[in-house]
Symmetry: C2
Subunit: 187 residues, 2 copies
């Protein structure tokens, strides 16, 4: 893994997505009430992905294992901690997305679908507590945004690095020659 300073990235990503300590505490607090329904969220998420021509082939043949990983991640959103090692795991997911050639839009599209399911679930579960709904939806928006931001920063970095590899392979140029030329180039 490239050297990433997660001590800097984690608070930056939290500030940029509005993930506060109050949000984190609330997510963990409501965990026991929401977790029993997260399996349905995962089911509907993959059911939608299977209905889209471009996403379906990426799921084919590995649906059960994907669902398990997804559900575990969803439960983590209501378990915590949302620390540097969580940031590191989301960074790893971004790298894996590049490695298995998932198109860039799968990340934000997926997160929209997940948020859609969670909005419905929260509004239903806490229908008698409107203030709680507002606070919790803000917290969920923040934690999914936090996860997405880190995953995408990683995806971008990995895809540029893969592009350099492709360029070197196509041109037959060595990495050290390219690095020397890059060092000499100023623009």
């Amino acid at each position: 893994m490239e050297e990433i300073d997660f001590k800097t990235l984690t608070p930056y990503a939290k500030n940029f997505t509005g993930l506060t300590e109050v949000h984190e505490a609330l997510l963990v607090e409501v965990g026991p009430m929401l977790k029993p329904s997260l399996g349905e969220v995962t089911e509907r998420f993959y059911s939608t992905l299977r209905s889209i021509d471009k996403t379906a082939p990426f799921i084919e043949g590995r649906l059960e294992s994907l669902k398990q990983t997804h559900r575990k991640w969803l439960e983590g959103l209501f378990t915590g901690p949302f620390d540097e090692s969580y940031a590191q795991s989301m960074y790893h997911v971004g790298q894996v997305h590049v490695k298995v050639h998932l198109p860039v839009e799968f990340m934000s599209g997926g997160m929209s679908l997940i948020n859609d399911e969670l909005i419905a679930l929260v509004c239903k579960t806490f229908s008698d507590y409107p203030d709680r709904i507002t606070a919790l939806l803000k917290a969920i928006n923040a934690v999914t945004g936090f996860s997405l931001l880190i995953m995408q920063q990683s995806y971008q970095s990995s895809s540029l690095s893969a592009e350099l590899d492709r360029f070197l392979a196509i041109t037959g140029m060595s990495r050290s020659l390219f690095n020397n030329l890059a060092g000499a180039y100023h623009n």
Copy 2:
């Protein structure tokens, strides 16, 4: 602008973010109730961006013009239409982000902060109509997700293309030589 098939991209992005015709109609319907408060959403959005070290320099000296553009875009989310020409305008925003060297995470971070403000606004405005809150928050999540997806697909494409330009500049290789080599290369 590179050749993008917006007739294909638009419905794909809608499916992937759950943006339905029912959502679109609802967004337009509530427009008159929410638009008077969108100025405050923009104010708070830029106030947060100014408080983050990494984003502040990008705003410096152009705050008023950025706010105007931002507010106009926000109003568009409650005006429509969410058609191919809207998709094209979001695609253009992604290209501009690359051109002015905005880091990739500014897109998802920004959209998280905007959603955070809109959740608060909707829950407050429609506090007596809980069913409306659920439907409207799902619609807002979908339309911001739709916008983000298209912007990011464009950003990715533009940044890979900028990276190729950088390789060519550094190595002094002509584009036609590179294209010939790429054509001959199979992996």
